[in-house]
Amino acid sequence: MLSLSGFREIEHTADWAIEAWAPDLEGLICQAAAGMYALMGVEVSPEPMVTHSVALSAEDQESLLVAFLTELLYLAETRAVACEVVELHCSDTALSASLVARPLDRIRRQVKAVTYHNLAIKTTPEGVRVIVVFDA
């Protein structure tokens, strides 16, 4: 039986895609972030740890998800860090999160961007589910 929260990579001809699922939206966003880092093959150093906070607003839940993942890609590329979510709250149009950022040791594969391609957060009997396609 699948666990209540998780992610898996799915096939896409030109690019990369993951499916993520969780009991609620907050959990889904965290799973999508973990899935994206797994696709990138990130390896981090334990120290130094830096706390980082994020506040985002967007049109809807899907846009919030894209904005949050894009923020993590931006931090990876410009600050060379990967982030762990300590706390995350969101409504339909706003998200705030406390993150712990650790230095990136290695990225095996570049994810260039998060796309909106057929992006729809779906409600299921177990919670919520989404497929995210990345530009590789």
Binding site: H12, E77, Y116
Partner: protein, 483 residues
């Protein structure tokens, strides 16, 4: 979704999905493929994506797809859509994340035989001079004012700094600079992401190759381009790097609200768009052109560094190591052009998402030496296979908005390629074929294995058969550098 009855056959190389196929289609989809390629294209969602594009407001004529088409996100890769200027829409998805991703080709009179003893050194020098791979910084650390100048001036910025010549600019699409670029509409983050990446190749399917001209099929055109059988050429494939990605991402998010405001119904949110005469459309056009100019400048700097590598390794060892620019083309771009549509001349924005401009003889904007032969079209193959040099034709102006194919086109996902191909074996196999390989990552090499792509020769035969390009020369790789 697609039964064979859907497709109306126009010729052995051309098909159509009529606009009656789905109620939300505004125009037909014209497909340049053989029957075999058409059947194979049903294996992914690319045709459905082409039908989705056919729903965009303001399309002037059919959506066109090329034989190298494959599934993208929103638009299929290998798609061309022309929207009427200025009331039609501009859609960032029809241009892509890597704005002005393109190819540059330089010719030489270096014979393969005279260069053979030095090819491995040349591979190492190209790898050292031209940074590639994830997170590799370029040779320049530019301040904001200089970055904005790059956005406005394109390749000319580099030429002014001594990195190239006026002839390079004349042999670049748009002379290496799109008018109407305005870095005020480029976000701080996009400027920041581009700052360290000028003069870098990137990773993924970006590459630098030295090829030998294997076969010439149009002697006059080849001579005009400086291509001679048995001589080396240099080609590379890259774009606007993180800057274009950041601009695309930012505008795809901000245009989500514009779509609602203009009441545009879309089958896929990745197709977000805005009328070109709206504030949002104008701002995206200005930002997109800024990224395009950044990419032209990036390729100009890479050409300069590649020339330094050639000089370092080959000066004094071959009779003439110089590289002369054949052409530089953009294959992810939106351009305002005038085309004949249903017998009327219409000003349109041609969205080319993985498609190459292929202007025919006499077209405005071509340098004098190419006026008689048509615009050079550069079609790289998959790693280790042939690449092609073509020219645009009168037919491409009439049937495909002056556009043709851009490469081989993927058929296998990157993850499947990695499962089925071992990077070290692939590298060894290429070396056994006499190809000198420098790869930043073996897994990255495996993702780009030739078997992950269509047969480029079949793609080129199709566009030549359809008349939307003419064959000039076939190239064979001898050095491959990948990030």
């Amino acid at each position: 979704m697609f039964s064979h009855k859907v497709f109306r056959k126009i010729s052995d190389f051309e098909w159509e999905i009529p606009k009656t196929f789905r109620p939300d289609m505004r125009v037909a989809v014209r497909i340049f493929m053989t029957e075999a390629l058409l059947r194979a294209s049903l294996d992914d969602l690319s045709l459905e994506q082409a039908v989705n594009v056919a729903t965009l407001p303001g399309l002037a004529g059919p959506v066109v797809v090329m034989p190298d088409m494959h599934q993208g996100y929103g638009f299929p890769i290998g798609g061309v859509a022309a929207t009427e200027f200025p009331q039609g829409v501009i859609s960032p998805g029809g241009i892509g994340y890597d704005i002005n991703c393109g190819v540059r080709l330089l010719s030489s009179s270096i014979h393969l035989e005279e260069a053979s003893p030095y090819l491995d050194d040349l591979a190492a020098a190209l790898n050292a001079h031209c940074p590639s791979g994830m997170g590799k910084a370029g040779p320049l650390a530019l301040k904001r004012a200089e970055l904005e100048a790059v956005c406005r001036q394109g390749a000319e910025w580099a030429v002014r700094k001594g990195m190239g010549s006026i002839e390079d600019l004349r042999h670049t699409e748009e002379n290496g600079c799109m008018d109407g670029a305005d870095p005020r509409w480029v976000s701080e983050r996009a400027l920041e992401r581009g700052a360290g990446q000028l003069g870098t190749l990137g990773s993924g399917n970006h590459f630098m190759e030295v090829d030998v001209v294997d076969e010439i099929l149009d002697e006059t055109a080849a001579q005009r381009m400086g291509l001679a059988t048995g001589c080396l050429v240099l080609q590379f494939h890259c774009g606007s790097r993180g800057r274009g990605q950041e601009i695309f991402g930012g505008y795809v998010q901000s245009l989500q609200s514009a779509v609602r405001r203009f009441g545009i119904q879309l089958p896929d949110r990745e197709l977000v768009c805005a009328p070109m005469d709206s504030q949002e459309g104008q701002q995206y056009l200005a930002a997109m052109r800024s990224a395009a100019n950044f990419a032209f400048c990036n390729r100009q700097i890479l050409a300069h560094m590649a020339r330094q590598a050639f000089e370092q390794v080959l000066a004094g060892k071959v009779h003439n190591w110089q590289l002369r620019q054949v052409y530089d083309i953009a294959h992810n771009i939106g351009k305002i052009e005038t085309h004949l549509v249903d017998g009327r001349r219409v000003k349109v924005c041609v969205h080319r998402k993985g498609a190459t401009r292929a202007f025919g003889p006499g077209a405005a904007g071509l340098p004098e030496e190419y006026q008689g032969i048509g615009q050079p079209v550069l079609v790289p193959g998959s790693m280790g296979t042939a690449s092609w040099v073509l020219v645009g034709t009168a037919q491409s102006m009439e049937r495909s908005y002056g556009s043709t194919c851009h490469g081989a086109g993927r058929v296998m996902s990157r993850s499947k390629a990695k499962r089925e191909v071992r990077g070290d074996r692939l590298r060894d196999g290429l070396e056994q074929q006499g190809i000198h390989v420098r790869a930043g990552s073996l897994s990255g090499l495996a993702e780009e294995a030739p078997q992950a792509y269509k047969d480029v020769d079949e793609v080129v035969e199709t566009v030549a058969g359809a008349g939307i390009a003419r064959k000039v020369a076939r190239l064979r790789p001898v050095i491959v550098v990948k990030g």
